[in-house]
Symmetry: C2
Subunit: 145 residues, 2 copies
DNA sequence: GAGTGTGTGTCAAACTATTGACATGGATGC
DNA sequence: GCATCCATGTCAATAGTTTGACACACACTC
């Protein structure tokens, strides 16, 4: 009955499976909005903390700052974000959302929210919090290099 | 106290964070063995079910069969796997592990196992099973397209 | 003040992965 | 039998990502 007893690593592949499927489902929902998952993550982080720098954005998305840069260029060309051409204290250019992005995010959040809701459909509210707490403990244990 | 109440989507980013960190830590440990995480996953799947086909391997690793093909070519050049040049019933070429791969996997499994062990360090055994069960329910809910 | 270190932005090259397309060999329909 | 459909393997082109490198700006130490 227990896959964990046979091989403890299976929790790792389960995390990978779940993340991969979640990514796939989100991509299905975001494609009609012409948004990729990394783009959505970027815009959301930008909404949470406006004026954030590109490098910090990259760190939160777990990608290199070069990748985040080309991603931002695409968003800038579409008029979703604007980067201050004026250099900051550390040669950094702050990025902010545009009105079009706020509007687009409203729909995107609904789509993503419905996917997450479906994911946790079979998990009661109390257990949902428990799952979050246990998984957060796993993440924190991996934070130190 | 509860991030889930404020935004239910945070479970999604938590899964992403945990998976990304786990991937990073595994990569750190596997690099000395000259193995990438996808390569390790491929070899492990090959160990679990020998003679598997390349396409099936790709499905389990959540990548396209073209990617798995180039990955296999690299492993074949290193003498870790051998693909039967003799075409199977459906024009498929079965892949099997080499002795060198079995030897390499022994060390790799130890490394990965230690990473997973560290990840679940702060979670008691009983709760570990609970976490697995809850997360599996989430994965299953996403299985249907 | 000079030197060192860290963080940011950007360029180029290399690598990895996906998409699209095609031929082949079986299976399944009639 | 024949047509259709599904699955595999492979090729080419494209997109996305990482690695390595450099310049610049600030903070820190001595």
């Amino acid at each position: 009955m227990d896959a964990l007893d046979r091989s403890p690593e299976s929790l790792g592949v389960l995390i990978k499976e779940t993340q991969s499927l979640l990514n796939q489902r989100m991509d299905d929902r975001l494609r009609p909005l012409a948004l990729s998952v990394p783009q959505y993550a970027c815009l959301t982080a930008l909404q949470d903390t406006p004026g954030i720098t590109s490098s910090e954005l990259a760190r939160r998305a777990f990608v290199s700052r070069q990748s985040m840069n080309v991603l931002l260029q695409g968003l800038e060309k579409r008029g979703l974000v604007t980067r201050s051409s004026d250099p900051g204290p550390r040669r950094e250019r702050s990025v902010v959302l545009n009105d079009a992005a706020e509007l687009l995010l409203e729909r995107a959040h609904e789509e993503v929210s419905s996917v997450v809701q479906r994911m946790t459909m079979e998990v009661e509210l109390v257990e949902r919090a428990r799952l979050y707490e246990l998984l957060a403990r796993c993440r924190d244990a991996l934070l130190i290099p």
